[in-house]
């Protein structure tokens, strides 16, 4: 990003009742950027957002806005607006008055208010909803009112706290596209909080992956997906096979009892590493042509591909292929050098990446629905 820095967090920490929620966070947020704070429940992403909004004061560290320290500036004096998790539309006001709220506080003349509210309603596709009561609106419509109510103030930064969490899948996809459009149209920096990695990948310019109160990786969606920094990021973003390996020399790595060519270098000789291979990057070949050999333990039809779990010497791999493979069959696996991503060992090594206990149901149960308050 060549744009100017808008927000800088330096060594920001926060704990509640002795429990550390944020542990010395450093983060830069630039102008015109769509940045997503992504992580599981309790990772500190909402706290980070609330610190930027001014609702939480950090215990330690500094928050800069446009180069000025804003730690002690109350929310109403920050050029930042928020779309709250459950919208927090004022129930005693109709749609028009909700959107006009910020302008009325600023004592903007009535005719300008009317004009700007009309513009905002057009932008969020709610023309003619002025007189409706907010509790008569659907979730998606309330969402749009909440966005309009924030954007009408022309903030430098819009904070969005899991705004799509309460919507059904179809509506969520539509709103993703619309939010992206609004962000481009207005040029306002969006800071978006979510635990949904797909949402993060499809909308963001920059993703900040967080876990346990720390930033794990900052990067573009492509970089985060293709070059995860550690086992946590690899596991959290998309599906990954994560294996223990040893870096023999530059461009040569050994794992699963086979030496592979790879594109990574600059590791210490014989350094122990984590290897990530995405399920779609493994080719199924005949046994004699394979680099590895394994037994198919399950096959699931997913529509446009088959999801296969393959047992290779006790480690269960996940593969995605377009060709059917029979269960119990013995197959060969072929992996291109570009498909192998080598990572440094981290505190998350060994915690993720084996699909031996994998089932869709478990994955679903583990999916955090509620963000920490």
């Amino acid at each position: 990003m060549n744009n100017e820095k808008l927000i800088e967090l330096r060594g920001v920490s926060k704990s509640y009742d002795g429990e550390t929620v944020l542990c010395s966070i450093d983060l830069d947020i630039h102008e015109h950027e769509f940045i997503t704070l992504l992580g599981p429940s309790g990772c500190g992403k909402t706290t980070t957002l609330r610190i930027i909004g001014g609702f939480v004061t950090p215990d330690e560290g500094k928050v800069y806005f446009d180069g000025k320290l804003i730690n002690e500036i109350p929310p109403h004096k920050r050029p930042v607006n928020t779309v709250f998790q459950r919208y927090a539309l004022f129930p005693h006001l109709n749609v028009f008055e909700n959107i006009a709220f910020g302008l009325r506080i600023k004592k903007v003349p009535e005719d300008q208010i009317r004009e700007q509210v009309k513009e905002m309603l057009a932008m969020v596709n709610l023309r003619g909803f002025e007189r409706r009561r907010v509790d008569s609106l659907s979730g998606g419509q309330q969402q749009r009112v909440a966005i309009a109510r924030a954007l009408i103030n022309k903030p430098k930064i819009l904070l969005l706290d899991e705004p799509l969490g309460a919507l059904d899948l179809k509506l969520r996809k539509d709103m993703q596209v619309e939010l992206k459009r609004m962000q481009r149209q207005t040029g306002i920096t969006f800071i978006f909080v979510t635990h949904d990695q797909e949402e993060a990948l499809s909308m963001s310019d920059t993703i900040v992956v967080m876990a346990d109160g720390k930033i794990q990786q900052i990067g573009t969606p492509e970089k985060i997906y293709n070059e995860p920094e550690n086992a946590f990021v690899a596991d959290f973003i998309g599906e990954s096979n994560i294996l223990d390996g040893v870096m023999l020399e530059d461009f040569k790595v050994r794992f699963s009892g086979h030496t592979f060519e790879c594109v990574d270098k600059d590791f210490a000789p014989k350094e122990k590493v984590d290897i990530v291979v995405r399920p779609e990057d493994v080719d199924v070949v005949a046994v004699d042509k394979g680099m590895l050999t394994g037994t198919v333990s399950s096959v699931t039809f997913k529509g446009d591909y088959y999801e296969i779990i393959v047992d290779v010497g006790g480690f269960k791999w996940m593969l995605e292929t377009s060709d059917y493979v029979a269960p119990e069959a013995t197959i060969g696996l072929h992996i291109e050098p570009e498909a192998i991503h080598v990572m440094k060992k981290s505190e998350y090594s060994g915690k993720f990446g084996d699909y031996s206990s994998f089932s869709d149901e478990l994955e679903h149960l583990a999916d955090p629905e509620e963000e920490e308050e």
Binding site: P75, F84, R86
Partner: protein, 283 residues
């Protein structure tokens, strides 16, 4: 309306018997007495004689209004303050507000009189400090003070409940949109706790306008409110009928004021649709 089952009707039976005996029949008696003379003949003379009690009605309404407004001015900030405390402190404050209500109204009023009387605790204290005595008992001020003292908890509790139900997200949203603390109070907190205010106002105004004991004790018999007038008229069998007529007017006044309150709470509080009717406590 759904037809209720036999069981439901049986369950309601004791209450219906009770209501008929102690609410419906007395009402019919009041109506009957109000429109008959001492010999039991139909007559409007009771109603027409009410004009001489006009000033009593005006005084009662004025006292009740003043007491209600003062209760609101004291009670609203108190309820707000309470709602901002830790849950522990809230419980303690709740008990402190409720504690007087565990004691009978008459006893509380009597106690207040003992405190404020000419030879009461307050005046003894003033005299011992070399100050002049205050005459509170027997004045309008004394009566209104009694109303405020007796009915303040009824103002605080519903407002406090409304405050604690208020989602802090609304307050954050208003700060986010540029409100100072005062603007948050007037533009968000007050409108969203209006249902509690309406309940509180109703619960203070209605007993204030019909009280007779407070005015007797703290007014030292010098101040005559509607309640006192009704009580006196009913103590003499020959004035039963006029007493019934005043009672009737009183009931109509209360029904009208509660009706107005409920209109407010139903129409102006769409936000409370989920938690039932805004007013809630009064019929």
């Amino acid at each position: 309306m759904k037809k209720s089952s036999l069981f439901q009707r049986l369950a309601a039976a004791p209450h219906i018997v009770w209501a008929v005996m102690f609410i419906v029949f007395p009402m019919i008696f009041v109506l009957f007495f109000a429109f008959t003379d001492a010999d039991g003949n139909f007559s409007f003379s009771n109603i027409t004689s009410l004009s001489q009690y006009g000033h009593v009605f005006v005084l009662s309404i004025a006292f009740a209004l003043i007491a209600t407004v003062v209760c609101l001015i004291i009670g609203y900030p108190l309820a707000y303050f309470m709602s901002k405390q830790s849950p522990r402190a809230q419980k303690v404050l709740m008990v402190l507000v409720m504690l007087p209500m565990w004691c009978n109204l008459l006893i509380r009023t009597y106690a207040l009189m003992a405190l404020l009387d000419n030879g009461g605790l307050l005046n003894s204290l003033l005299v011992s400090l070399g100050l002049e005595k205050l005459s509170i008992v027997g004045t309008n001020f004394g009566v209104i003070l009694g109303m405020i003292y007796d009915f303040l908890p009824y103002m605080v509790l519903p407002i406090f409940t409304a405050m604690t139900k208020l989602d802090p997200k609304f307050i954050e949203a208003s700060q986010d949109l540029g409100c100072t603390s005062w603007q948050t109070m007037t533009r968000v907190i007050m409108p969203l706790t209006a249902s509690g205010v309406i309940s509180g106002v109703t619960m203070v105004f209605v007993p204030s306008i019909s009280t007779f004991y407070i005015s007797q004790k703290l007014g030292a018999g010098k101040i005559d409110l509607v309640g006192d007038t009704i009580e006196r008229l009913f103590q003499n069998p020959s004035t039963y009928n006029v007493g019934a007529a005043i009672s009737l007017v009183m009931m109509v006044l209360i029904i009208i004021s509660v009706g107005i309150m409920n209109r407010f709470s139903d129409d102006k509080q769409p936000g409370d649709a989920k938690t039932g009717k805004g007013g809630g406590i009064m019929p």
